[in-house]
Symmetry: C2
Subunit: 334 residues, 2 copies
């Protein structure tokens, strides 16, 4: 008998395309909810072309609006904020970036130069567009109407993402319905549905943070006190590394967002994101997070997949039973 | 560690009410789709009060419209069409009703008398309202607008159900989104969500059919050739009988439909239905079946629950391992 987890992933693929749907135009609230109900992503090309941000967000304009206002910036040696790093003692560690506050203009200079010793990324994901970057907020809609109507709520957070092409957001998932809009440059998304949890090799990792040493070098300081956290360690771009017995069943979806494109990234989907700079020498996007609905089957069933996977990991390995004509008894199990 | 299936059922109950939502009025398409997305039932009281059927379907009117047109009628000794019966040789059998065609007026006479030796039930579930009962079709809407819009399709079947209070439809599920509308009498629904599959003691049963013996007695004829089919054998009204290790975790939802009430019964929910006659001496309802969506997570994840449950049933029972200081080896497992 095929294992239930194998069957789950294969059945899912039989019933669902391995590519992201492209809609001709922005969906109605009803059409959007049909995708939410199915927990399936889609992309709308050029959906944000008429946004002020799409027209105005060149470097000069951003400098003018933000000036020397201090913004929070993630700093990493390789563009690996919130990522898995192999520690010198061999084990994997989930490392958060070094964080500083600096004047926006300094940050943008470094980002455009793309030559700074370390990689900077504005990626705070804490509703920063309605706080730190409030000067830019008038240039984007205060909400996504089809999402607000369908989900019966306003956006919980609006986030600005600004960086260069060295930053990569590693594979992870969020408990949000996510409307992601590309303003400058491009983003390459790799997407995996929640049923592919057994493929991503989630491990409980120690956490750490990059800190700046005296010579300016960024080194990992382990967080000895903190609890370990579950982290996806499989990388869809290195599919032969750190595999589980299920990784080969994954069919990651790939989609590239260009300027003006909008992606619906459904709740609890794994996503890995890399980026390419535009004419202005930086990459910039805005996303809207809506609280997901924990009622119904969605949360309970997704948790169940993880539980079954974990129970399987913990099962004692018994010697294989002899079957056939012979009767199986405790004594011939050796 | 709690077993994954136990955790699934408990998590579901923590996040979902154990009663059926009551809406103040018919939902919009968007509101309806929010329930479909969550795979959660609701009831709207008096939703069909303005239907012609609600006003006109008294016995005289039905006799006048249907006359002696032949209709298909299910006949059983106890009102147990499509039900589990304990065969004389001890094992459980899934028994289909004896079926006859008879003039509608004869059928209605017997139903109203409620005293016939056998129990009759018009329950063909094959779009009968657009076929056998087409004379009555103008008295109900040709579709449920909020469902058609939300699901982007017309009803796949419209069914009439007509019988007396002796008939009980035993616990089962359908791959349809179901809009169920009470016209005469009352129905008592017991509903269980798909995650409660481990509670219902699904078994592969031999099938059979009631046939009429020479003395008019109905006896079960086993279908020796046919494949066994999976049938829920647990009865939420006899919760201590035929249990599984999970049955006690079930929290069946109960709702009574009175004349004019509308129920949304989501796809793949288990339901058991019993009934009480109205003033006219019969029970009558109409339901609309819409094809469910097999894409997204719904079908794949529901199948997964069954697979995990079945794999657990088939696991060889090993002697319990000793744990503790002692090292576990194959030789001390006895
Ligand atoms: O743009 C990125 O780098 C990551 C985006 C992301 O993870 C999110 O929107 O949840
Ligand atoms: O009304 C009944 O007896 C059963 C209804 C039912 O099973 C259904 O609508 O699927």
């Amino acid at each position: 008998m095929t294992s239930p987890l194998t069957n789950l992933i294969n059945t899912y693929h039989e019933l669902n395309a391995s590519e992201v749907d492209e809609l001709e135009e922005e969906p109605s609230a009803l059409e959007f909810l049909q995708f939410v109900a199915k927990n399936r992503p889609f992309v709308v090309r050029h959906a944000a072309n008429s946004w002020t941000a799409s027209e105005k967000w060149v470097a000069d304009y951003l400098r003018q609006k933000m000036g020397s206002d201090k913004v929070k910036v993630a700093i990493t040696p390789l563009g690996n904020a919130d990522a898995v790093v192999q520690h010198s003692h061999g084990s994997l560690v989930f490392v958060e970036p070094h964080e500083i506050f600096e004047p926006f203009t300094d940050f943008l200079d470094d980002t455009q130069a793309s030559s700074s010793r370390h990689v900077k990324y504005a990626q705070t994901q804490n509703d920063n567009l309605r706080n730190e970057y409030a000067n830019l907020l008038p240039d984007v809609p205060t909400d996504i109407p089809f999402a607000r109507l369908a989900l019966g709520q306003s956006a919980d957070a609006i986030n600005l993402w600004l960086g260069d092409d060295r930053s990569v957001t590693s594979l992870h998932k969020d408990n949000y319905e996510n409307i992601y809009v590309q303003i400058r440059g491009q983003k390459d998304f790799v997407l995996m549905p929640p049923v592919e949890m057994p493929c991503v090799n989630e491990q409980l990792l120690q956490t750490g943070r990059y800190v700046s040493a005296d010579d300016g070098e960024l080194i990992v300081r382990l967080d000895e006190e903190a609890e370990r956290i579950p982290v996806a360690t499989w990388d869809p771009d290195e599919p032969e590394q750190r595999t589980t017995p299920y990784s080969h069943l994954a069919k990651p979806l790939r989609v590239t967002l260009r300027e003006g494109d909008l992606l619906y990234l459904p709740s609890m989907w794994y996503h890995k994101v890399s980026q390419r700079i535009g004419d202005e020498g930086f990459v910039c996007a805005v996303n809207y997070w809506y609280d997901m609905d924990f009622a119904g089957n969605h949360w309970a069933q997704t948790t169940f997949i993880r539980d079954v996977y974990q129970a399987e990991q913990m099962k004692p390995v018994y010697p294989k039973l002899e079957t056939g004509d012979e009767k199986v008894t405790a004594t011939n199990v050796v």
